[in-house]
């Protein structure tokens, strides 16, 4: 969490934290936290599937197989088939490519923009002149953004630019910015009153440097903790957007749209169509949440040791 530009020099000069050591410290840290290891395993598996999922799938995930509609789980089709005759297992393991791309990209964009805006708005809140104007302006913009219904926004974006993954990413990123912004702002409002912030000023640091080098790293925890639920939330919203036709086009393997396609079948007893993508979605969200918790501890030098 230290200034990334500074740390390598310290490491090189000081010795005790050279890269192999840092790696060993990380392994030692992970060993003591089984939940973090489980989360890490899930994340690694989903990332692997995001890259190789469509390749390792036993059937083509987007092709309907003739004459096998709505088969229950069996040796040939581990998770059964859906109404169109597509193999559910193949689709479930092919889906991370699209789901993770959307969720990670939109969460990352929202995190970066939300944190930066949150630091600015929190650090300069109540400051005289331009700072206060900036701070208030950011908050009011966030209010407007949050007051605007996401589906209308997404539909407008799709209507304007045509359907596509990048529009879903943009819509979700915009939706998530205010959450990161608000938690960061709240945390910055507390951190900026701590004595070391004044000490940094005393040392002659500029206000921007105080804000981003001294306040921001100490105010990141709530935003970091928000990333993992944010990723899960993004996957769910991707599904919802697909459902109203503003998301990923239909045959593309995507957990959310699989759940919405399979939902009517559940009523008539073919539970496997929506159950397996739902489980995959749940496990993935859990995995990111566990990793998020662990990383938060790891990034805090007091809790780490």
């Amino acid at each position: 969490m230290s200034d990334p530009a500074l740390s390598p020099t310290v490491a090189a000069l000081a010795g005790p934290r050279t890269p192999p050591r840092a790696l060993r410290a990380f392994i030692g840290f992970a060993r003591k936290r089984p939940s973090f290891l489980i989360g890490l395993a899930i994340v690694v598996i989903t990332l692997f599937l995001a890259v190789f999922g469509p390749v390792v799938a036993p059937y083509p995930p987007e092709r309907a197989l003739p004459g096998v509609g709505l088969r229950p789980p069996s040796i040939e089709h581990w998770m059964g088939t859906d109404a169109a005759g597509m193999d559910i297992f193949s689709r479930v393991i092919a889906a991370p490519r699209i789901d993770l791309t959307i969720a990670l990209a939109s969460s990352l964009i929202a995190f970066v923009l939300g944190v930066v805006l949150g630091v600015v708005s929190g650090f300069f809140a109540g400051a005289p002149g331009l700072g206060r104007f900036l701070s208030e302006g950011i908050m009011r913009s966030a209010d407007i953004l949050q007051a605007f219904p996401i589906f209308i926004f997404a539909l407008a974006l799709v209507g304007f630019r045509g359907p596509g993954v990048e529009n879903v990413i943009a819509a979700l990123a915009f939706l998530n910015i205010p959450y990161f912004l608000r938690v960061t702002r709240g945390s910055v409002l507390q951190v900026r009153e701590r004595p070391f912030v004044e000490a940094a000023r005393c040392a002659g640091n500029s206000e921007l440097r105080v804000a981003f080098v001294h306040v921001m790293p100490n105010a990141l925890t709530p935003a970091l903790a928000n990333i993992s639920p944010g990723i899960g939330f993004a996957i769910l919203l991707t599904a919802a957007l697909s459902f109203v036709g503003a998301g990923v086009p239909k045959p593309t393997p995507e957990w959310g749209s699989m759940i919405s396609i399979g939902a009517p079948n559940m009523m008539t007893g073919q539970w496997w169509t929506a159950f397996f993508p739902g489980v995959a979605l749940g496990i993935t969200v859990l995995g990111y949440a566990l990793v998020g918790d662990g990383l938060r501890d790891y990034l805090d030098p007091v809790k780490r040791s």
Binding site: L13, A14, P195, R201, C202, G204, N218, P301
Partner: protein, 328 residues
């Protein structure tokens, strides 16, 4: 000798939701280059606000209402934030009580010192680390190379204060403001820290303002003393003059309290009454607790006026008190 620092008629107040609370009510204090000045006073007398005000560090709801802080003849309070930044940490440095809270918990000590060094000079990163190591060894931290990579929570309170001092003296500082540098440290460590600070200041010919609640510390480490009460300086004198003939009744109380503690006598010299909110009424703020107050004290504010060369007190009866003719 020319004055290095001259604080003139400084007024500051806290303007919170519950209204305006005056904290500094016309502080006048000066310091010559190379001098060491101790500011003593009880909690709430405005010591900390005073040193922060000197560096322009007061932020709303704090407000400076009046006064000047002349450093080298230039009014620091009239300077812009950008101009002040060139002064802070380079010309005037501040050390603080509770050293650990004044270090960024997420940055390694080395990074923080380097940050201070690079804030005011173009020193290369590698050279800055070498210099940081020198600074750590100058403040008596063993194994400085290893300590550069430590986080603040891995250091003891005394070590943290040493790091703070190292940061304060990273540039050729001309004035060091030390705000209760030993608060929260035990007695032996306090002694080491004060000795260290004293040596460093003397060797680098830095001027020092030492803020403390402990008169003994000020007597031992400073040449001059300024007593603060209810947002005013009520007496300034050289340390020998002060102990020989303090001219303010409050100063005499402080001296008696300090020596009682030293001589392990039962403490009879506690000051009666509550510390009064600054300037709550007309007249001397100390009048309600003062054993020698008379009618005029309650209606008129005594000014800080010289009694002798280099010795001033704000009391109508200063001459009598100083001569020991009336018991205070």
């Amino acid at each position: 000798m020319a004055s290095l620092l001259e604080v003139q008629d400084l007024h500051a107040a806290h303007e919170g939701e519950s209204g305006r609370v005056p904290v500094l009510n016309g502080v006048d204090v000066g310091l010559e280059a190379g001098q060491t000045l101790g500011i003593v006073g009880e909690s709430g007398s405005g010591k900390t606000v005073l040193v922060r005000a000197m560096l322009g560090l007061l932020r709303p709801p704090w407000r400076i209402e009046r006064g000047r802080v002349l450093f080298d003849g230039q009014d620091l309070l009239a300077k812009s934030e950008d101009e002040l930044r060139l002064v802070r940490g380079r010309v005037i440095a501040l050390t603080t009580p509770e050293p650990r809270k004044h270090l960024n918990p997420l940055l390694r000590v080395g990074d923080q010192i380097v940050n201070v060094l690079r804030a005011h000079s173009d020193i290369a990163r590698g050279a800055a680390y070498a210099r940081a190591e020198e600074l750590l060894s100058a403040v008596g931290i063993p194994d400085p190379k290893r300590r550069l990579a430590s986080y603040p929570h891995e250091l003891s309170g005394g070590m943290c204060q040493r790091v703070i001092i190292a940061m304060a003296l990273a540039h050729s500082t001309r004035l060091l403001l030390a705000d209760e540098p030993t608060a929260g440290l035990d007695v032996t460590i306090s002694r080491q820290i004060l000795d260290l600070m004293h040596d460093l200041v003397r060797n680098s010919r830095t001027s020092l303002i030492l803020v403390s609640r402990d008169l003994g510390v000020v007597a031992h480490y400073c040449e001059r003393v300024a007593v603060m009460y209810a947002g005013r300086i009520v007496e300034t004198a050289s340390v020998p003059t002060f102990f020989a003939g303090a001219a303010h009744p409050y100063s005499r109380h402080l001296i008696r309290a300090a020596t009682a503690a030293r001589d392990a006598r039962p403490l009879q010299a506690t000051v009666a009454g509550e510390s009064v909110a600054p300037a709550s009424a007309a007249g001397c703020a100390y009048a309600t607790r003062c054993p020698v107050a008379f009618a005029r004290c309650r209606s008129e504010q005594p000014l800080l006026e010289p009694l002798l060369e280099g010795h001033a007190a704000s009391c109508f009866r200063k001459a009598e008190v100083a001569a020991g003719r009336i018991g205070a």
